[in-house]
Symmetry: C2
Subunit: 235 residues, 2 copies
DNA sequence: CGACGCTTTGACACAACTCAACAACCGTGG
DNA sequence: CCACGGTTGTTGAGTTGTGTCAAAGCGTCG
């Protein structure tokens, strides 16, 4: 079998424990059922029953919920190596929708196998749990942002966290990364109007903290950003 | 062994699957190590290392994070039958603080035992996972509230959800429940100022939707509340 | 009975939203 | 190759929901 042992998820889990050859093999096998998805396609619908879980291999995703009046709250932007939909395998219906923002590759996950892994490869299982816990801690932190931080701190925090997540899978340097998110998307994640977010981004640029342009984010002053946003990494 | 087979958690899990005598026994055993905690005591501190997980047996709790400028974002108010701190057993440090608002009884959880249960009593394990997934879906819904709903819809949604959670463990009727939360606490959960929340509560009262007074919440018009808040239960 | 914690109300300020228009860019098709 | 519509970004002007400050009412408990 020609499974590639390297994957974004493997890189991420390696930050928790160094995985053995065997464990890497199991992990690769788990992700072997791949599937390409075109930009803009909605993979899981909110309220859908019997949905699957996925691991994003490449591309950017978007988990969100709609509210009655047409608003949309984006929960997170899954990036390569992120699991999607694990939570809802036991709920009767999916608790949120998932679509991909760029042409992407996902692998579908046999949820039954996950439980086997916990038994047979407990270290790998623990790493998995770590990654999931980390994601949930980020949702909580997101809630803190939207509930208690000013617009500019919110934006700063968002990019700090995003940068760290991308670094973990090798998609960002210390100061820069590619980012296909439009201002509309970011605004819907941060609970701001697109117009206001635009002004906030301008402020960040004018204060020489961070520039977002042409699908690229550049961090100019990580210290000030950290102070402004109150960011500190989860571990 | 004089363990009591009835517990808030047992009542909650029974809503997912009916548990056998054996399973109820295991569940009771798991919760047998009890401990009383005085009102206002902070059980887990944010950033604390090596923290435990708990099941709240009686009383109300409060999970929260502080932000640098002194603000506090309340994540959720654990009620009897809720697990606390399960997520952070694999993160090096607790991702949020936990304190109790009333004199409470908690049982400390041997996290190792949980994994055993998954193997030996998979139905019980699944019920556990269901409960945890449900809690996480609620955090997501909370994020939606704070990010996208108006103050009054947020408040309405909050009480609708709270009522349903309490009903699940037998602590609320269709239209009423006891609630020791102050307006300061609720405001910090909803990302509103206490003053504004007070006005919002007045509106809810004047529109004959819901009254909160003397530690009691009474629901007058559940239909209108549901429409106003966009609430629908997780399942 | 005073002190404290919680609630309620008013007046005012401001952060963020809405509406509106325009500019820049892109892919598409004529 | 250029014209076109659609998407995204930018900016201005005016509005409004919510926050802040301040003070008073009201229980309760020591």
């Amino acid at each position: 079998m020609d499974t590639n042992f390297d994957s974004a998820l493997a890189r991420k889990l390696n930050a928790f424990v160094e995985l053995s050859k065997d464990e890497l093999g199991v992990l690769a096998d788990l992700q072997s059922k791949r599937c390409e998805i075109k930009r803009g396609h909605e993979v899981t619908h909110e309220g859908q029953a019997g949905q699957k879980a996925y691991i994003l291999q490449s591309g950017w995703g978007c988990s969100f919920k709609m509210v009655p009046n047409g608003g949309r709250q984006i929960i997170r932007f899954p990036i390569p190596g992120d699991c999607v939909g694990l939570r809802s395998i036991l709920l009767r219906t999916s608790d949120h929708a998932f679509s991909v923002l760029t042409d992407s590759v996902v692998s579908t996950l046999e949820t039954v196998r996950i439980l086997d892994i916990f038994n047979e490869f407990p270290r790998l299982g623990a790493a998995f749990l770590w990654a999931i816990s980390r994601d949930e801690a980020m949702v909580v932190e997101h809630l803190v942002s939207v509930g208690k931080r000013s617009a500019i701190a919110r934006a700063a925090h968002f990019f700090m966290e995003l940068a760290e997540r991308l670094r973990l899978v090798g998609l960002a340097t210390e100061t820069q990364f590619e980012c296909p998110l439009t201002q509309y998307l970011i605004a819907d994640a941060l609970g701001l109007s697109p117009v206001h977010l635009n002004r906030v981004l301008r402020q960040l640029r004018e204060r020489r903290l961070l520039t977002v342009a042409c699908g690229n984010v550049t961090i100019h002053d990580i210290g000030s950003l950290r102070e402004l946003s109150g960011y500190h990494s989860v571990d």
